[in-house]
Symmetry: C2
Subunit: 188 residues, 2 copies
């Protein structure tokens, strides 16, 4: 086997982890299976990642991240709508939806999974959206007194709420209506 450098090893491991997650969820993405598919030792895995949850989620996030791209030079509202729509498409048209449901379920009793979801999945996505909210504030498109974190919750929470509770259909049309209600506000 040729010697591989750190970045190549990380890349092979994350690809293997992402594939296993999309094929069979967290149950399939064991350290053994990831190591075998990536052609590395379990010891190597533990050198780079503290836990199975961390490597599995990072692999999943990387494969899922390929699903979104942002329009250039668009108003913040348009870019944010595109981000939320990308999340809806990911959750309704790929195995990432059932996978995210089972991961969030596991996160309720396993701190390692909860931490991995926050660090590997939520935080990078929220950072991108937070930049857009701040741009919108700076340009005067949004109000100056917005709380950025609360705004992010209002943008994305409805998607997760319908994904997890299933009381109404999670659809692109829902996402668009939700964001437009939020941007305009409820008041008459």
């Amino acid at each position: 086997m040729p010697v591989r450098h750190g970045e190549q090893v990380r890349d092979a491991v994350l690809t293997a982890a992402g594939e296993l997650m999309l094929e069979g969820g967290l149950a399939a993405a064991t350290m053994e299976a990831i190591a075998a598919r990536a052609g590395v030792s379990k010891r190597t895995l533990y050198k780079y990642w503290p836990s199975r949850g961390a490597v599995a989620l990072e692999g999943f996030m990387r494969s899922a991240a390929a699903s979104w791209s942002l329009p250039e030079n668009a108003p913040a509202a348009v870019s944010l709508e595109e981000l939320v729509l990308a999340a809806v498409r990911l959750f309704t048209q790929t195995p990432a939806g059932p996978l995210m449901r089972s991961l969030i379920a596991d996160a309720q009793s396993q701190d390692e999974i909860a931490t991995a979801i926050r660090d590997q999945w939520l935080r990078p996505r929220r950072a991108v959206a937070a930049d857009l909210v701040r741009q919108g504030i700076a340009s005067g498109e949004f109000r100056a007194d917005l709380d950025v974190e609360v705004t992010l919750d209002l943008l994305f929470a409805p998607v997760y709420y319908r994904l997890l509770l299933g009381h109404e259909t999670l659809s692109p049309q829902f996402a668009v209506t939700s964001i437009r209600h939020l941007i305009t506000g409820l008041k008459g």
Copy 2:
């Protein structure tokens, strides 16, 4: 044992189920335990409820429902804020928070639990909030073109999002900020 009428039996069963849920979650609220505490037979339970999830959730919902009351003759925005604050207090100050987390986790793989949460928990709460949204539209306090279901999601989803993902603190202050952002809207 004196003969008890249907309503008394239902009342005793729901009280027992609610207590067991708050004491030990769904795992404690077995048909056996509910029947024993309520002093009825399991057959009686199945006469009134189709499943363990249904009776456990209805009992839980009834004990939790005691936690909210609405201000009278208040603007819709004030009443809705009070409803969302009641949910936050329930989830942060009572065992209902951890319990709801584990129920929603179970709902991801057990259809019976998912149905019970929607029928016994979400639907009655959303009906109350929907009436308030419609009142707000009728009085001109809210815009006439609001989608009521989407508005309910925007009001309540952030609470469940922080409860389940834990990326930021679920607090009364968060609920108030979230609702005020939603009512005023993001736009500058």
